[in-house]
Symmetry: C2
Subunit: 126 residues, 2 copies
DNA sequence: ATCATTATCGTACATTTGTACAATACGTCA
DNA sequence: TGACGTATTGTACAAATGTACGATAATGAT
């Protein structure tokens, strides 16, 4: 069967889920600590978002001592694909090319990344 | 002065705004007609979204006969930049490279677009 | 002028989202 | 084993979102 379509992620949920991916797994506290300074939200808020992510099927938790350790319950690659797909649909009508060109144009890419991208596209059949 | 930060776009609003960009300008009816079949929503709903986009500062309207003609009130390029930026922040922590690689990997690019991208990256300084 | 047509406006409303306090439970150390 | 410090739960709530009905107003044809 195809992986069932999970409910869409809200912006705030997306960011929290990203942090869990970054950590591999983590407690509320650990997620809080990873929050970028530009994005200060209360412990309790993070907790709610983690709960909601679990209810939606993106996370599971295991109790370790007093704390809950949340970990991914859906394949990151899949989630990314769907999320990016939805985004491209809404903003670009489903055509990824304008987005790629936009990113290429507006991102300050360091030499290293530039090389990776150059190589990637150089390798593609013409 | 820097262009003032408009309130964030909701997903549904984003799609409607895209259609206005596509049309250049248009009435509620015209926007409805451009809705992809995958996305059937009522006339009145489109109307509400257009009104909200206007209130937020993304659109203006001019009355032409009985109908309202909505047109962009913010520079598309700016809006795109901010919207994509927010998205990259939330899903990739601000690093555009994974998104670019993801897109390159998962999009079925036709020869033409591939060439554009190849050329783009080939041209960049090493 | 009147009627049918078609647009807009005002309003509504259930959900979701973002944010968080207060109360309770669980472990740990003395 | 009792107190202390965290962690979790339950609950709350205003604002935003998605969706749309009913009433009203403007237009064009007769």
């Amino acid at each position: 069967m195809s992986p069932k379509r999970l409910p869409a992620l809200s912006p705030a949920e997306t960011e929290i889920l990203r942090l869990i991916w970054l950590l591999g797994k983590g407690t509320v506290q650990q997620v809080c600590d990873k929050l970028p300074r530009r994005r200060r939200i209360a412990y309790a808020t993070v907790q709610t978002l983690l709960r909601r992510l679990e209810k939606k099927g993106y996370l599971t938790h295991a109790s370790q001592g007093k704390a809950h350790v949340f970990s991914p319950a859906a394949k990151r690659e899949e989630v990314i694909k769907r999320t990016v797909g939805d985004f491209v649909d809404r903003l670009f009508g489903g055509d990824p090319v304008p987005l790629m060109l936009h990113l290429a144009d507006h991102s300050k890419l360091d030499a290293d990344n530039l090389k990776r991208l150059k190589k990637f596209f150089a390798k593609e059949k013409p």
